[in-house]
């Protein structure tokens, strides 16, 4: 599997990371090397093996539906870069948002 420069550009865009041409070249090489390394797994016969999403065999970790005290608006906003009253303030967004 060969990672292309265009794929790296796309992934960078999706992650909102701006990259110079020089960085794109470097990342294409480095990420490609990592993927090549992981490619070794394809040499194994994995017929009938479920993809692993967790390494520890655990399931059904749940809590009861009980309300706990929230942390309070001041604590919540303590690390906010900017606030407006009790709101977090962020740079103006024009897009209507993604689908949920």
């Amino acid at each position: 599997m060969k990672l292309t420069r265009e794929e790296v550009r796309e992934v960078a865009y999706l992650s909102r990371i701006e990259m110079t041409d020089e960085e794109l070249d470097r990342m294409t090489g480095q990420l490609g090397a990592i993927l090549d390394y992981a490619d070794m797994l394809n040499e194994l016969d994995l017929e009938g093996v479920e993809p692993t999403s967790h390494v520890i065999p655990m399931k059904n970790v749940m809590r009861e539906d009980v309300v706990k005290e929230s942390c309070g608006v001041e604590k919540a906003l303590m690390n906010a870069p900017d606030r407006f009253g009790d709101f977090f303030r962020v740079p103006k967004v024009i897009d209507e948002g993604e689908g949920h």
């Binding site: 399931k59 059904n60 706990k68 919540a76 977090f88 962020v90 967004v93 897009d95």
Partner: protein, 476 residues
């Protein structure tokens, strides 16, 4: 050329849990922004989400009601995108292994039955709320973030706005019946996003579809879907290309407008959320939840006909909402004439609700008050005519009927001597009609009864008045 619409419907239903999906923050109404938040739902580093058991139970309950297969194993995935309403920059959702699949819901639309297949039901967390104002930026409130949403997706089986509304009406009623969701569209407890395409009748292939948002009532769904179908047909007839996009229903202009184009395919880079372990719902747990499941609208409708002897129409109307059906059953358990209870609910109660724009949950009249009124009428304390006025007062004030009757002095006059005096006066004042009645003109009685009622301020018991008039005139 004739076209047919092909519609699939995505519904987001807010589950009625007390706490959020992955943390203990309240899902209740918060007076101010960012008061129901904690490090987990704010997505702060070092926190771990823990699944709310009730949310899983509610989704399984819904799966059972919609005849879905419940996946023995399901898991959560991260849906990655950047937007300030999403503090973690991903939404915890489900992708490959949703909880429910392959269900169906049969609805009645246009006088016939239609089965709409359910593609999948999954669980996810809600995002926050963004307020654009004059502060020079965008303001974010994370109170909603992490509130459990159940997404219910149909196959593209819907063929008209009428079927879409019938499906949503029926779904809302089921969600209310099984107690998992308030399902009030105006309050945003149930949000619906239809995707719509059109194709020439007989064609196999689907046309390009658009998705619609901001439909906040059944009326908006009907108008919006019809508008979009027409818009697409017009575009095709004019040789234009339908663009795959999200369109927003605009209530003011009653049109849909482009919200964002989906020309650049979204890549959410879903992957299993390593913070959450798989959920396994065994067959025995499903059976346990099934055993506890409340009665659904359809079986209840059938039972109303057999148990209370109600006509089909009454049973259908009364079971249309769980709250209304509950109200009826409570009243019917207190009063031994279920048809009378039904009549009063369907005419007086529903009339008052319609007029005031209230729902049964907001209604001040209790089932106990209604049956007390029926008992008072049955005993002749007030007439049926008076009963209707008393009911209006009960609805407006929330007071019990006896209190209203007493305060307004509405008790029916059953005192024979007093009525007899009034009858004599009316006969003396109206010799003509009295003579007619004596001569065998029965319809003259109506006039005389009316005069006695007028004289007594409408309080005389009309049955007694009629009898006394007959006694006096025919025995002379």
């Amino acid at each position: 050329m004739k076209y047919e619409p092909v519609i699939g419907i995505e519904v987001h239903a807010q589950l009625k849990t007390d706490s959020k999906l992955f943390c203990g923050c309240s899902t209740g109404f918060a007076a101010a922004p960012n008061h129901h938040v904690c490090p987990v739902c704010l997505g702060l580093p070092g926190t771990l989400p823990v699944l709310n058991r009730k949310a899983i139970e509610y989704v399984v309950r819904t799966c059972i009601a919609l005849e879905c297969e419940v996946s023995p194993a399901s898991r959560f995935a991260r849906k990655n995108y950047y937007y300030p309403d999403l503090p973690k920059a991903y939404q915890i959702s489900q992708y490959e292994l949703p909880i429910g699949r392959n269900g169906k819901l049969t609805v009645r639309a246009g006088g016939r039955e239609k089965t709409i297949r359910i593609h999948r039901i999954h669980l996810e967390e809600d995002a926050g709320k963004l307020v654009h104002d004059a502060s020079g930026g965008s303001c974010v409130d994370y109170n909603r973030t992490g509130i459990p949403l159940m997404e219910i997706v149909t196959e593209a089986d819907v063929r008209s706005s009428e079927e879409a509304v019938a499906y949503l009406t029926s779904l809302r009623s089921i969600l209310q019946y099984i107690g998992v969701c308030g399902a009030n569209m105006e309050k945003g407890e149930m949000r619906c996003e239809p995707n719509i395409s059109v194709r020439p009748v007989g064609a196999e292939e689907f046309g390009t579809k658009t998705e619609m948002k901001n439909l906040n009532s059944f009326r908006a769904v009907r108008l919006g879907v019809d508008f979009e179908i027409e818009r697409q047909i017009d575009a095709i007839e004019n040789g234009e290309r339908i663009v795959q996009e999200t369109r927003r229903w605009d209530e003011a202009t009653q049109t849909t407008q482009t919200m964002r184009s989906k020309e650049r395919a979204h890549d959410y880079r879903y992957f299993p959320d390593p913070d959450l372990v798989p959920v396994e719902v065994s067959a025995s747990v499903v059976e346990l939840i099934r055993a506890k499941a409340p009665e659904l609208p359809e079986p209840r409708r059938v039972r109303f006909i057999s148990q209370y002897g109600l006509p089909e129409y009454d049973a259908e109307v009364l079971t249309g909402s769980k709250a209304m059906a509950d109200f009826f059953e409570r009243a019917a358990s207190l009063h031994n004439d279920p048809k009378a209870v039904s009549n009063w609910i369907m005419t007086e109660l529903m009339g008052c609700l319609n007029e005031s724009g209230k729902t049964i949950d907001e209604c001040a009249v209790t089932a106990e008050d209604l049956t007390a009124l029926l008992e008072l009428m049955g005993k002749g304390v007030i007439s049926a005519r008076m009963g209707k006025d008393v009911f209006k007062d009960m609805f407006a004030s929330g007071r019990p009927p006896a209190e209203i009757i007493k305060e307004k002095g509405l008790e029916q006059m059953n005192d024979e001597t007093a009525i007899s005096d009034a009858v004599e006066k009316v006969i003396a004042d109206n010799p003509g009609p009295a003579a007619d009645f004596r001569a065998g003109k029965k319809q003259a009685a109506g006039f005389l009864v009316g005069q006695v009622m007028r004289l007594t301020g409408g309080k005389a018991n009309p049955k007694i008045v009629g009898r006394i008039i007959e006694d006096k005139l025919l025995s002379e």
